[in-house]
């Protein structure tokens, strides 16, 4: 009986997928990119309250601009995240022009023991002006 009920559940799930997924298929956008080949983003606690934000983007060919589009840092105050600092693509060390690949480490001077949220967006823009971006968020406690 247990086996039958389990098989029934599996069949119901399969049937559910059959009915539901086609509806998603129309709005499903694969992550393949014409501008980005690969990327990596990380945020880690460094010594002295610093937070080290590493990013790297490899373009799908030579890009007119490639690198980090934005980095936003929020500090946890009580149960809320309050804006602390941001970096934009025009800031030093964020992007490189006419390059296939770019990456760097950007530091934020935090306070030891405090918790921060770091939102990072990397991007690549080709010579036609078309661009693509990817984002990641991290929670880091400064040490």
């Amino acid at each position: 009986m247990k086996k039958k009920s389990f098989l029934a559940i599996v069949l119901v799930i399969i049937c559910s997928f059959s009915m539901v997924l086609p509806a998603f298929a129309t709005s499903y956008v694969p992550f393949a990119s014409d501008q980005i080949s690969s990327y990596s983003i990380s945020a880690t606690a460094a010594s002295g309250g610093k937070i080290a934000i590493d990013f790297s983007v490899t373009g799908a060919g030579k890009m007119s601009v490639i690198g980090a589009k934005s980095i936003a840092i929020y500090e946890k105050i009580g149960s809320r995240w309050e804006f602390a600092k941001s970096f934009s693509q025009g800031d030093s060390g964020m992007t490189k022009a006419n390059a296939y690949i770019y990456g760097n480490t950007i530091y934020y001077n935090g306070v030891s023991g405090r918790e921060y949220r770091v939102d990072v967006t990397v991007f690549a823009q080709d010579s036609t002006g078309a661009s693509d971006s990817r984002s990641k968020s991290f929670a880091v406690t400064a040490i």
Binding site: V10, F17, S38, S56
Partner: protein, 300 residues
Amino acid sequence: MAEKKHNPDYYYLNQLSTEQLEELLRVDSVSGKEKNDDLILYILEVIEKREQTSPTGRLPDVGKAWAEFKEYYAIPEGDGLSLYPTKREEEIFLNAREKDDFEVQRKPWRFMRHTFIAAAVIALIILSTVPAFGYSSIFQLIGEWTAEQFGFADAPRDTHHNSETEPPGGKNYTSLQDALIQYGIAEAVVTQSIPDGFQLEEIWVQEYAGTGNIEFSAPYAKGDDYIIITVIRHNGQTNSIYEKDEKELAHYMAGNIEHYIFHNNNNVTAAWSVNSLECSISTTLPVDELEKMIDSIYEE
């Protein structure tokens, strides 16, 4: 649409055939153990995605099944009857047919046999591949991918290089191999054969303070075509994500190392891992040219 975050331990399931996945579902359903719902759902999602990409008719047509149910079973004559035998009916049925009873007794053994076969196959795959890469965990050697992304599971921490003897970044290098050697990297990871006409654009080396990783890259160009060779020496967790489209990922063996080849719209990437090194070649060239470049890495 954001995809549900899955347990990375299940990514290896993407490499099993649909038949193997169905066998795992069957084994799980008869094992009598507590069900692993996440595993089952992950397998079902993999099968569903494959079915969407290449329909085989494996999944039932719900509309047709419902119509058949209404036509043959949900009829006035069936009111008050069960589709399945009740316990009493089952007892009568089994008492009357001893042969069938014997078959019912044999089924657990058949399922046990399937369980052992599936377990043996999985164990053989694991045991035959893990030592070749020298990794302590199977998840460190297996690439993980979905329809739209590829990445490696955790890479082992680099323990072979002394950072005090390493040169600072920003130095000029004559070649990618030269840069790797100056950082004490001796593994064969650089292609020895670049197709005719491609010009080296730069040797790019970046040390990342947060992760301790070092990234080496050499882009080559010829008109609109390009080849980008990248080597990342990991000092801890790998976090690279490679873009890919829905085309089937291919495995290419060379130098006794498994290379994962996948497409990203108009370019193709080969990615592989050697010890603490994550390597890739991305290019606009066709796959056979990419395979030639991979082969040249391991030529004597």
